[in-house]
């Protein structure tokens, strides 16, 4: 086994990057721009969305949609802050960024399970 745990993080980064590349734009358009502006009319009604989101397949989908790009962010941000001049403990930065992504994933799992 490799001593380095980097392959795991790189894999999560890559998976999150793919998810973000394919899904982020359309989700931002729908729930961030067109939806709130009223362009989706009844599609964002409470009962409809609740029914749609309560399906286990949707829950799994939403979990991947949120969790993996968080790890994608963590990986990029970890290196970017170092590149931009924060030369503090690299290990500490890695811990903070991947830790935040892990917390975000746990929170999203909790929210989705309760729906």
């Amino acid at each position: 086994m490799r001593k380095s745990s980097e392959p795991v993080f790189w894999f999560l980064f890559g998976a999150g990057g793919v998810i973000a590349a394919f899904l982020a734009p359309i989700h931002i358009v729908l729930t961030g721009i067109v939806g709130p502006a009223g362009g989706l009319e009844s599609a964002l009604e409470y009962e409809r969305v609740l029914a749609l989101v309560s399906h286990p397949v949707t829950k799994l989908y939403l979990f991947m949609l949120i969790s993996l790009p968080l790890f994608h962010w963590a990986h990029r941000f970890r290196f970017t802050v170092v590149d931009l001049g924060l030369r503090a403990s690299k290990r500490g930065i890695a811990f903070a960024t991947y830790g935040s992504a892990a917390i975000g994933s746990i929170l999203s799992a909790l929210v989705l399970i309760r729906l």
Partner: protein, 248 residues
């Protein structure tokens, strides 16, 4: 008619007489078909014999004439004056390396990095000569050919901000060459090289800025090589964890 000229601002550093490098302005003869190296040779021969720099082949093969030309790492023998004329050209030693004298950089670090990845064919067992050569199909050759074109010019190191910020980084050309041997069907050194490459100072330090690939004069694509190495290392890692009985 007086001869056309072009101004070269050359960074000079003479350790025995100055603390810091300074720019010196030279006015060289200009010819349409001259490259920057021709102008520098002209200066050396006719204007200032004390200027130091490296060069050899004049044809983009030896990789010794790399310089920063208007801030871009380039082979000075492959960079035409006419692309800058009549503006002055600023010539500096390759970035991210210590300066030894004038345009000459200290390349020890690069040489160490290069040998650290053992860029030659590693075998677990050498075949006796009587069994003949290691044969290779054109398709097997094609897998690594691009990465074997490297001329060790170090332009990629000069373009790499990761190497600039952290000189421990193994760097583009060395990793690309390691990858070249890992892809070679005759080589068996991949897991050995992984111990050097799959480290925080190895492939995992790279953030895929991609400028190494842009400046490479022979299209090696070191940035692609590094990401490919990450991919195969990750695949190896998961195979080792999920199927530990499948030794390599």
């Amino acid at each position: 008619m007086s001869k056309a000229t072009i101004v070269l601002e050359v960074l000079r550093y003479r350790p025995e007489q100055e603390q810091e490098p300074t720019f010196q302005i030279y006015e060289s003869e200009y010819r349409e078909d001259w490259v920057v190296l021709d102008a520098i040779n002209h200066i050396k021969d006719h204007i200032d014999g004390t200027l130091s720099y490296r060069w050899s082949c004049r044809m983009g093969v030896c990789g010794s004439c790399g310089m920063m030309i208007n801030g871009e790492p380039k082979l000075s023998c492959a960079t035409f004056l006419r692309d800058y004329y009549p503006d002055p050209i600023r010539v500096e030693p390759l970035a991210n390396f210590p300066i030894e004298r004038d345009l000459v950089i200290v390349m020890d670090d690069f040489m160490e990095k290069l040998t650290s990845v053992k860029p030659w064919i590693l075998r677990e067992h050498e075949k006796p000569i009587s069994e003949g050569e290691y044969r290779q199909t054109p398709a097997e050759l094609a897998r690594y050919k691009q990465f074997s074109m490297c001329i060790n010019c170090m332009l990629c190191y000069s373009a790499c901000p990761v190497y600039a910020l952290d000189p421990q980084f193994t760097g583009p050309a060395a990793i690309a060459l390691a990858h070249r041997y890992n892809l070679d069907s005759r080589d068996q050194g991949r897991s050995w090289r992984e111990q050097v490459l799959s480290t925080e100072e190895g492939i995992w330090a790279c953030t895929y800025v991609g400028t190494c690939t842009v400046v490479c004069p022979v299209d090696v694509d070191p940035a692609g090589a590094i990401q490919q190495a990450k991919l195969s290392t990750t695949t190896d890692w998961f195979r080792d964890v999920l199927m530990p009985w499948k030794g390599r």
